[in-house]
């Protein structure tokens, strides 16, 4: 709408050259932010203590692992794929971490073992998806079963983590000005987010991710490294899942095969709510961050309420989600 394609156009269009990103790219994210602010306003009017900045910080504290998962999932979804395995890989990572620590491995070795195994699973999945043309949905579903199965193979029972580095990390606190604090996990998550944003928005790899999501066959014909990128995003997702698994292991100081059941849906929901199209090619990592925060806010809302029975909890989550996506849709509708 903003630009003309007229060949005989006057030079006034040159002015537009300078404005790089059309604002409509940011529209869904802007809508998310507006809603988030609105929700906090409503929350602080209703519940005492809701407006405390520490509540906002706790959103990060409690969802650090989800943010890391969301970063990986955003890459995958932007190429038009999907990764259902992330929840199980988180569980597997907690299991590997807990069992190796129990066996007396030093923390750095454990961390490397977890990251390597998650990344390998991701790469494997990417290879199967790209080279054998297996649909991402079933390939990642298979990996989901596989990772969950490996968890049980390690142990059916939950394993506590008592190792010093992990407990120190888990119980550590990063003070912020004003008497507030976050946990080291938040720092890790924010760093991962920043790196993710850099790679996605500032590098050639990132552009290719968008191109593959826009049209894989076009990207192929344009001579882009489609295979590298497609395998790459699943590798990134695997790495992020493993990292999220470590954060989760620290968060719960345990390894358990039933951890993170259904967390893949939370991650997918956060990405999609953040304005990324499930069909690929459109979306921003920033949106994912707000998507995660939004899911967290819905939960905070409900736990502050404290009067909802189990089923009203579910219904309220659904309703808030609905209100949210409908408003977001209305706010962004104008673009077409």
């Amino acid at each position: 709408m903003t630009t003309s394609t007229s060949v005989t156009a006057s030079p006034t269009f040159l002015d537009r050259v300078r404005t790089y990103s059309p604002p409509r790219r940011y529209l869904p994210v802007a809508a998310t932010v507006a809603l988030l602010i609105g929700m906090f306003g409503a929350g602080s009017l209703r519940y005492q203590g809701f407006a405390d900045p520490q509540v906002v910080l706790n959103l990060f504290v409690d969802n650090a692992f989800l943010l890391v998962l969301g970063v990986g999932m955003t890459f995958v979804i932007l190429t038009g794929g999907i990764d259902l395995s992330v929840g199980s890989v988180v569980a597997l990572s907690t299991m590997i971490a807990a069992s190796t620590l129990q066996a007396g491995w030093p923390a750095p070795v454990t961390i490397i073992a977890v990251l390597v195994s998650g990344t390998l699973l991701g790469t494997l999945m990417g290879l199967v998806i790209h080279y054998f043309e297996v649909q991402p949905f079933i390939a990642s579903l298979a990996v989901m079963f596989l990772a969950r199965g490996l968890c049980y193979l390690i142990s059916v029972e939950s394993i506590p983590i008592r190792e010093g580095t992990f407990t120190a990390f888990a119980q550590g606190s990063v003070p912020l000005p004003g008497g507030y604090h976050v946990t080291p996990s938040v720092v890790v998550a924010v760093v991962v987010f920043a790196i993710g944003a850099w790679v996605l928005h500032m590098t050639r790899f990132g552009r290719t991710v968008y191109a593959v999501g826009g049209s894989e066959s076009s990207a192929h014909l344009m001579g882009l490294r489609v295979a590298f990128v497609k395998v790459g995003v699943y590798t990134i997702s695997g790495l992020c899942s493993a990292l999220a698994g470590l954060l989760f292991a620290a968060y719960t100081l345990s390894g358990y095969s039933l951890h993170a059941v259904g967390m893949e849906l939370d991650a997918i929901a956060a990405v999609v709510i953040g304005g990324t199209l499930l069909t690929g090619g459109r979306g921003l990592l920033l949106g994912t961050m707000f998507g995660v925060l939004l899911l967290g806010t819905i939960q905070t809302f409900i736990s502050f309420d404290g009067t909802l029975s189990s089923w009203w909890t579910k219904i309220s989550i659904g309703t808030l989600l609905l209100i949210f996506v409908v408003i977001q849709r209305l706010l962004t509708r104008r673009q077409n």
Binding site: N58, V61, D62, Y251, Y256, H259, T300, L308
Partner: protein
Amino acid sequence: GDKPKPSASSDSITMGFAQVGAESGWRTANTKSIQETAKTAGIELKFSDAQQKQENQIKSIRSFIQQKVDVIAFSPVVETGWDTVLMEAKRANIPVVLTDRAVDSKDTSLYKTFLGSDFVVEGKKAGEWLVKEGDAADVNKDGSIKVVELQGTTGAAPAIDRKKGFEDAMKANPKITIAASQTGDFTRDGGKKVMESFLKSQKNIDVVFAHNDDMGLGAIEAIEAAGLKPGKDIQIISIDAVKDGMTALAAGKINYIVECNPLLGPQLMDLAKKVVAGESVPARVLTEETTFDQAAAKAALPSRQY
């Protein structure tokens, strides 16, 4: 944010309760009991449902701390991994009471008391009954007692502990063997489907040990569909004693039920008041639980609350 404690007045206590979820009828009865007794005991209840996820439970406990409740009670989804958040509660001087399931922590100062049943004991009770009644259970008189086990959700604490308790007790009678064991996910549907295939793949099943009543009820349906009489041709032992289970027991379709009492409300409120008042409480409070055979069930059925 330094807002005054909302319930600083000594007469009203605010309790934050983080429930596991509402995954079964047992759990719902448990929730109801707590909500109702809180009301009658004059305790303001902040209830949150974790939908079977530990991270949700940690989040709600953290939010209870944020809201400065007087006491926190919760049924842990899993035993491990509570040190961090309980430490935060301790730092905020909020006492914690565990219900239903224990936590696995070296630092016992993190919580005041644990109220709940012992799953291992439940499994043991079931096993002991089978050892005692063993020969009657050998329905086909072939000298060996062939048990099939319907496990709860793989990895869930009740499933692991009940299995362990049962296996321990069973050792007392070498004729008892577990021929097959598979998860039925604590559901009727799961119990029925698994039992259907056991009936086809195993010969001469004598006993079904179901980790909860629902799976036992499912097994009854499968046994009936196979043209056999549950309770006679194949004996059934289960755990929980919910209403449907007790009805089946009274009707002779189940042979033995070990109770797992969900009505923790009164005991919990009692403990909570004591803890808030700073009185000392025992570190472990067992719920009052019993076992039922068919006769006992007939007698107890009219007065059952759930």
